[in-house]
């Protein structure tokens, strides 16, 4: 085997919810920084590599940086919990989980279309006659999966509040006549397009992704409404990292905003226009929503 034995890594100590804010000073600086990247499904195209970014970051930080893409954020959350990954590019919901489980902290967020937030949309067939959210009663609802912020959590939360349901299960069975769990935003939209469902909740705007295969998608599907603002993807770090080092990472990322080449890379692969500072509070809205669902998400 060729395991380079770094003595610094693997800080498992205190992973559980012991008051973690206190022990700042003796943080660690790894010999190799590992970045985990879970691409947000709420995006038109997603990249399968993080190589250029990792390289650049390594140059700036002066240490080796390794990037790894995964599509399952359980893996990332757990890996950050074990400090196998120190920096994560995590969608809002994933961040909330990581924060709750392992005190992972958000330091930055992505800016897309000049905004640090985005919205989810309700998609219906143009000829369906559905004009308001209230018209959705008794219809079939398509969503990607229940772990998707824009595809499920936010719209579900909104509808529950608006129409007075206490649990998601009630919403699904009493308000709607049925649901289709499609596995992805594009599949949800297609379910509506194909008539398997009446409304789909997706990111904004899923239709552009489908245009190539389904040229008439823009005409056949219209947007009924948008949800409230959802915070964008985060860049988060594990609590074991040294504070000064974290600050350095932060600075490097922020400096990318001035670097046209880097912005271009980010935009091409992740649709990011810029990077901005972020704090945990901004994600409170997601936390609240998650808390509401966590226990009553019925199977």
């Amino acid at each position: 085997g060729g395991s380079d034995d770094t003595d610094t890594s693997n800080g498992v100590e205190g992973t559980d919810d012991t008051a973690s804010e206190a022990e700042e000073s003796e943080g660690m600086i790894p010999e190799t920084l590992v970045i985990g990247f879970v691409p947000s499904q709420d995006s038109d195209t997603i990249a399968d590599t993080i190589e250029p970014l990792a390289e650049r970051l390594g140059e700036e930080l002066g240490i080796e940086v390794q990037g790894q893409v995964m599509t399952n954020y359980n893996a990332l959350v757990e890996a950050m919990g074990a400090n196998q990954v120190q920096v994560g590019f995590i969608p809002a919901f994933g961040y909330v989980l990581a924060n709750e489980q392992y005190d992972v902290e958000v330091i930055l967020k992505s800016i897309r279309y000049d905004s640090g937030t985005y919205k989810a949309q309700y998609v219906v067939r143009a000829d369906s006659g559905i004009e308001t959210l209230a018209d959705l009663e008794g219809k079939v609802w398509a969503y990607g999966d229940q772990g998707s912020t824009s595809g499920y959590l936010f719209p579900a939360n909104e509808l529950m509040e608006e129409f007075g349901y206490d649990t998601a299960a009630e919403l699904e069975t009493e308000f709607f006549s049925g649901t289709v769990q499609s596995g992805g935003h594009d599949n949800s939209a297609l379910a509506v397009y194909n008539g398997d469902a009446d409304v789909a909740t997706t990111f904004d705007d899923v239709r552009t992704e489908l245009e190539e295969e389904y040229p008439d998608v823009m005409d056949k599907l219209t947007i009924l409404d948008y949800t409230q603002e959802i915070p964008n993807d985060t860049i988060s770090v594990t609590k074991e990292l040294d504070d000064e080092f974290v600050q350095k990472i932060k600075d490097v990322f922020l400096s990318f905003n001035e670097d046209d080449e880097m912005i271009k890379i980010m935009n091409e692969v992740y649709n990011w226009d810029a990077i901005d500072e972020a704090s945990d509070e901004e994600y409170q809205v997601v936390k609240d929503t998650y808390a509401k669902f966590k226990d009553n998400i019925e199977l």
């Binding site: 985990g36 195209t45 997603i46 995964m70 893996a75 990332l76 890996a79 196998q84 194909n194 398997d196």
Partner: protein, 265 residues
């Protein structure tokens, strides 16, 4: 031959008749239940297929050659992961297989062994992979470990079946020589099982190449990540390229391994 002599009717016991009838009814009921209660709109599915056929299939068959380099690299990594993983599994499963074989261990020990193997097999690959990502980080080595453990269950089961099927007469002949247990293991048992062991291990290697495609989901290396991205981006040309790579590689390995297997058996 006017008077035909007919044989007596078979006298099946009433119990047996009832058993047959009950089983038949159960099977029919099972199918009725399945087909009536399953939630599939067959007509729509077919219509959908006809619509989508044009969108997906032609693009699958025109692979995206620009991705060839990247695909090849991922595929290579997949092969390495599968190789290291299956070899590890092959070694791990040997002691478990002996434990589970009822002609080697006592009846009770072998039941325990079989349970261990079943339990190992029950764990979904993905969760194993997550566990190993946690253990050693998101890299190919986590994939190797996940493959190794995942395969151990299946290989151990197959190995133990091989051990159970050996010619025990040879074992008896060694006993009759005055050989002790360990000598019998090396002289009578091992020569009988080694070729099959190798052949199954090689077979498992092929299976693992396919199985390791799932590992990419958790960042444990290999071609899986590309599969998921190609599917999420509806990039069927790239999927075509990936498929081509898998088919070519598995076919080559299939061919080589059947040659090797013929040699050793």
């Amino acid at each position: 031959m006017e008077n035909l002599i007919l044989p007596p009717k078979p006298k099946n016991s009433l119990f047996k008749k009832i058993k047959v009838i009950v089983i038949t009814i159960l099977v029919i009921a099972l199918y009725l239940w399945t087909f009536t209660s399953i939630d599939i709109d067959w007509g729509r599915a077919i219509e959908r297929a006809l619509n989508n056929f044009q969108r997906v299939i032609p693009r699958l068959f025109s692979p995206d050659w620009s991705a060839a380099g990247e695909v090849a690299l991922s595929m290579l990594e997949t092969v390495f992961i599968a190789f290291a993983g299956s070899l590890m599994a092959a070694l791990l499963s040997v002691p478990l297989a002996f434990l589970a074989a009822n002609n080697m261990m006592g009846k009770y020990l072998s039941v325990i062994g079989k349970w261990i193997l079943s339990a190992v097999r029950a764990f979904p690959d993905l969760i194993l992979a997550i566990l190993f990502v946690v253990a050693v980080g998101p890299n190919a080595f986590a994939g190797v470990l996940a493959i190794a453990i995942g395969s151990t269950g299946m290989l151990g089961k197959m190995f133990s079946e091989i051990i159970e099927s050996i010619d025990m007469q040879v074992v008896e002949a060694m006993q009759a020589n005055g050989a002790n247990k360990i000598q019998i293991l090396f002289y009578a048992v091992m020569p009988q099982i080694i070729p099959e062991f190798l052949s199954y291990a090689i077979y498992r290697f092929e299976v693992d190449i396919r199985a390791s495609s799932i590992l990419g989901i958790v960042g444990a290396g290999g071609i899986g990540t590309m599969i998921i991205f190609a599917s999420n981006n509806r990039n069927w040309n790239e999927m075509g390229m990936i498929l081509l790579a898998i088919i070519v590689v598995v076919t080559i390995i299939d061919f080589a391994s059947s040659k090797i297997r013929n040699k050793i058996v």
